[in-house]
Structures are given as structure tokens and as C-alpha cells.
Subunit: 346 residues, 2 copies
DNA sequence: GGCCCTTGTTAAATCGTTCCAATCTCCCTA
DNA sequence: TAGGGAGATTGGAACGATTTAACAAGGGCC
């Protein structure tokens, strides 16, 4: 077998072929203004002919910084995180960085090991969805001179950029839709107080309720945010008295379960009761009763994280830290009807 | 603000502190047998004290190969691929490689661009789920001296390693379960002939049918492998005459839809009809009728891909290309009952 | 004509490792 | 005691780029 391995061209090869020094080639590529027009032209044609591309490793070594961005995620299996990864991958590709995937699997030690690894390879920066709110480990990275962007968490803009979804707004949107559909008495089926997202979403719903006179907002907290918990809540609701007009479940699994529990007990969705979920998981669109829910621009989170990072790395002085907040959007499906043509708006 | 950026230790710092040359430090770390026990001891303690770790970029430059593995995937949004990524990330972490995430988004040009990028940075190797069967672009990578492992596709072991799931076995397992449950007349609801997986799964089902006397296996091909198509198939089935005892849907979306279509028309699952799906998507476990289905060890695919790659890179001569095939497993849930205690087996 | 300034180009140092070949030590043997 | 050899250590040249400082060459000015 003829197995000719063609060595990629080095800067010296280009220099020799163009009859200039390596320094000039580097100048043509990086600071064209320092080089005469005809030299530049000649060099460029050789670059094209030899298909020359600078070796990123060598550049990284010399510049003290690799053209690499790390993304540290708790769990790739969760579509929320894999969608962040997807957005980050797109943005990194567009900016010409390579993205190092770090999946910590909910293990703080492994997360820490990834931080060290990224520091060792002098990554240009890191986008991280941290496992815990403990900022100590994060700031150590920053001390090593590696810029950091927080995703799905916020932080003071003194310390760096962050990107997140506005859960309060999401909760408000969901509740508003129910009220606009004619509901007066809305129940929020919510996860525990310890989960920031749950607290925010409920707070948003309360805001919506406050602006409508004569409405009522109740809350019930479930043990787990799973389909099973939703089924149980649905059954309880169907059997109980004082049933609300509509339910806002703070995630889609709960909502799917709730619908199922209600249907089992003969309560029709959306006939007897409107239901809104949160998250727009795949299951929302394919559920028996397609779910009206709130979609988060998750890919945008990853994308913006990388954008901000690249800005920080490349603009250096001019860069200003920023906390970018994304607004979720309502996706209307069958489980909660479109707003009746309300008298108030037209 | 006191912003002391502590420079990481270099090999020279270690050498100086231990009173030896950089070469000796390198030897201690890479070829301990060449160095006396006491020197090694001294150097090692300094390494620990200074927290020294070799700069991967410099190592890569010197060795002509970075400690980086690329993973090229069509679409991170698809859990099949993100689970591959997860397995690959775990394995890469264990082997001490960093994993560069390349999401081609079903765009061949972008896939090609990633190949070039990985070649430029002298990646140690690439795990790829290729968009097309066109091996030209792949072999070009190999010509650049970069080992390649194919995932979810097979190739001649002359050209490299590959990892895949045995869809024939999966189809057989699914059908066997139905026959073991007492079915004599099984319908396969399948995707198009153009999809390799569909063909294989059906073939497996046929094998299972052949080994049982007095059984019948039919097939119906649907336009798309979606819930909607499944619903339609379910309704048609319920209304039609000559209804089978059991149905094997070659993916879970079809199966979920089928169950729904059947139930709408008053056919009970598993009461009147057993249903088996394929894939074990999230939706399988949370569907109204929890789905008996076939689980593929997808994470193992990514994990094994990286393992094989690392073996090829590190064992060099001794490495033998390998086509590793993984066996899917049946997950029994409600939609198809556990086998009756058959007279034949006991 | 000598001096200085500008413009374009380049030699050489540097980044942090690895590895080959050379050197140095020490001990054993003749 | 000189010579030889084994074992441990080290100097220095890569690897492939960037960048600083220096150097020619040409032009304007006194």
C-alpha cells in the first residue's frame, strides 16, 4: 500500500517558496499593514497554493493562550444541557475556536478536575453551568487568568459575564395566558422551595395574578418534578372539591402527568380545565393532549455564553461584563386554548 | 484590587528547585527507569510541591500530536447522539484526553470544516458518526495520519475500528418477546427500506419468526417514524379486520403513537394487543401505557469509540482494528407483558 | 555630502517540552 | 593506576509559530 502521509506546510515552507522570511509571512497574516502590497500578494498566493494554516498548538504556546473554549456541564443526558452545548458549539465554530466538552456528571470532583485541566491547557475561556453556587472554585479559575462565563446562573457583573433565562417572566407569561383564556382561579403545581427556578416561576405567576382583579392564585408543592408526581396531583385534583379553572405546572413532566391523572378521573383537558407546562420538552408536543408550555431559548444561552467569552478575550480592555437575560416564549398547543378574543384588548 | 496571577510552574522551575536539568525532570515523569531512585524521589516531591503539570500544548507541539480527541456528530439535539457524546466524554476523561465537540448540524460542509480543523490541530484521533456513507472525506483524514473510529456505522477492519449496535439482534429480541408472550401473528410497523436500521430490525424479527412454527410475521411501512404516523397506523389497525396479536414498532415514537391510536378506537394495550417499541427514549417510560422496548447501549458506543482510538494511538504497532458490536437489551414494561410461564421451558 | 526619518524586511529570542547524543561518575578489572 | 564499561545525568537541538529590536534602503532637509 502506498501510504504517503503528506506533511502539512509550515510557515517556513511558505517563506521559502515566497522568497521571504517566516517573520514576513507572519506579518502578512497578522498585521498586513506592515508589509508592502506586492509582498503581501505574493505571500498570500503561496499560502493558498500550499494550503497553509498556522498550527494552533504552536500559536497557543507562543501566545500563552490556546484557541480553545471549555464548556463544563452537569449532565449531557439532560436535553437542557445538551441544547446549551449545541448553541455553544455553533458559536465556537463561527468564531473559529474549538470547544472542549467537559461533562461532570454531577460530580464536583470531576468538575474541579476539568477546571484544572482547562487551566493547564491555557484555554481561552470557559463557559460553565456550575454544580453548586460555591463561587470559590470558579474564582480560582479566574485568578489563573482564564475568563469565565456563567450559564443558567447569575453573578455580579464585577466578576464576569453570565447568561440566563428569565424564569420570572416565564412564569408570568404562563399565568397570563391562563387568565387571558378566562381563568379566574389558577393553581400552581410547583417543585420545592430549594429550586431557584421554581421560586422564580411562581413569583412570575403571582405578578400576573396581582395585575388582574378578582383572580385567585394557589400553590401546591409536590415531592418530585416527575410524571408520577404529576399523575398523583392530577388525581387528587379531580377528586377534590374546590377545583381551579386552570393549572400551571412548573415543568412539563408534571404537566403531562397531571393531564393523565385528570383524564383518568374523567376531567377533560382542556375542556374542564386548562393546563400549562414549562420547558417545552419533546414530550410536550407528543403528549396525548399536546401541551401548551413555555419554551426557553436554551441554545441561545450557549451561543451567547461563547459570544461574550470571545468578546472578553478579544476586546480585552473595551470589554464590559454583562448579565444577559433571555425571555422565554409561550408555545400554544391544545392543553390551554388560545385567549378568547377579550373585550379589553379590542 | 490585588490581582496576583500566579504563573503555573514550568519544567525549568521544577528542575531548578530540584537541582537537576529539565531533561531529568522529563525523564522522571516519562521514563522513570532511566533515573536513579533518589533523584526521582527528590524530583517528584518538588513536582508535588510546585503543583507542576506539563503544558499539553507544548507536549503536543514537541510530539507532533495533541492529547485531543475530536468527536463529530450530526446533531446534538438528538439524544441518540448526545448520549454518544456523553459516553465519549467519560472515556476521554478517564484516559486523560480532552474531547473537542464538533456538531455538524447535518451540514456536510461543516463536517468537512471540522475534519480540517482537527487535522490542523493534530488531534490524536477522531470518533465520527458520519453524515453520509461517502468514505472519501474520511480516508483523507486518515491520510493525514489521524486515526479514525466510525460510530453507528461499520467499515472494513482494514480501514479502522468501528462501533455499532446490532439492530438485527435487537429486532430479534423484540419479536421473540412477543412470541414468548403467546403471540402467533405479529405485525412490524416499520420505516422505509432506505434506512439501514429499519431493514436490520425487520430482518431480526424475521429470524425470530422462522424459529417458531405456526407463526406469522407481517410488515407495514409508514411514511415517517413519528408519533403522528403511529397514531394513524394504530387507528387503521383498530378498524381493520384480520388484526394481529401483537405489534413491533421499529421505533418508540411510532409505538407511542400506535398505542394512542389503538386506545382511541377502543383497542386495549396490552389487553387486546401487545406492543413493543425500539430505542427506549424518555417517552417510552412516561407514556400513558409504559412501553416495552429495546434499549441500545448508546453511551457504550461513544465510550468504546474513544477506547479503541486511544488503544490505536498508544499501542501503535500492537493495535488491531476491530469492529465492535453491541447487543441491545429488552426493557419490559406494561405494553407487552412478561412471557407467560411457557410449557416448553419448564 | 552627511544626517535623520520612514518603510519594509529579517535575525534571533521565546514559548515549554522531549529526545538524542554526549558527558560525567563510579567502580571493576587487568 | 590506567582503561573500560555501565548507569545516571545533561546540553542542546528540535517542534512551529510570533514578536522585538535591529538593519538595510530610500528620501528629504540643511
Amino acid at each position: 500500500m502506498s501510504c504517503v502521509v503528506s506533511r502539512p506546510a509550515r510557515i517556513q515552507d511558505v517563506a521559502a517558496a515566497a522568497g521571504v522570511s517566516p517573520a514576513t509571512v507572519s506579518n502578512v497574516l497578522n498585521r498586513p499593514e506592515r508589509v508592502s502590497a506586492q509582498t503581501a500578494e505574493r505571500v498570500r498566493s503561496v499560502v493558498a497554493a500550499l494550503d497553509y494554516v498556522a498550527h494552533p498548538g504552536a500559536v497557543g504556546l507562543r501566545n500563552g493562550r490556546a484557541s480553545t473554549i471549555g464548556i463544563v456541564l452537569p449532565d449531557l443526558t439532560n436535553t437542557f444541557y445538551s441544547r446549551i452545548a449545541r448553541g455553544a458549539a455553533d458559536a465556537a465554530f463561527e468564531h473559529g475556536y474549538s470547544l472542549v466538552l467537559c461533562h461532570s456528571g454531577d460530580d464536583p470532583d470531576r468538575e474541579q478536575a476539568y477546571f484544572s485541566m482547562l487551566a493547564e491547557q491555557r484555554a481561552a475561556g470557559v463557559v460553565v453551568v456550575p454544580l453548586t453556587a460555591d463561587t470559590g472554585r470558579l474564582s480560582r479559575l479566574r485568578q489563573r487568568g482564564i475568563p469565565l462565563v456563567l450559564a443558567d446562573r447569575t453573578m455580579s457583573t464585577d466578576d464576569g459575564c453570565s447568561v440566563a433565562v428569565d424564569d420570572v417572566s416565564g412564569g408570568r407569561t404562563a399565568a397570563q395566558h391562563l387568565f387571558d383564556g378566562g381563568a379566574r382561579d389558577v393553581l400552581v403545581v410547583n417543585g420545592g422551595r430549594a429550586i431557584r427556578q421554581c421560586v422564580d416561576r411562581y413569583q412570575g405567576a403571582r405578578q400576573a395574578a396581582r395585575t388582574r382583579r378578582g383572580t385567585r392564585l394557589r400553590q401546591v408543592v409536590v415531592q418530585a418534578m416527575t410524571v408520577e408526581a404529576g399523575v398523583e396531583a392530577g388525581r387528587a385534583l379531580a377528586r377534590g372539591t374546590d377545583r381551579p379553572d386552570a393549572v400551571f405546572c412548573t415543568n412539563d413532566l408534571l404537566a403531562v402527568g397531571l393531564c393523565r391523572g385528570l383524564l383518568e378521573e374523567g376531567v377533560a383537558v382542556p375542556g374542564d380545565l386548562h393546563v400549562v407546562g414549562f420547558g417545552d420538552l419533546d414530550v410536550a408536543s407528543i403528549a396525548t393532549v399536546p401541551l401548551t408550555t413555555v419554551r426557553q431559548p436554551v441554545e441561545e444561552l450557549g451561543r451567547a455564553g461563547v459570544d461574550l467569552l470571545v468578546d472578553e478575550v478579544e476586546a480585552r480592555e473595551e470589554h464590559e461584563h454583562e448579565a444577559r437575560i433571555f425571555m422565554p416564549q409561550l408555545v400554544v398547543r391544545a392543553s390551554a386554548a388560545a385567549p378568547a378574543v377579550a373585550a379589553s384588548t379590542s
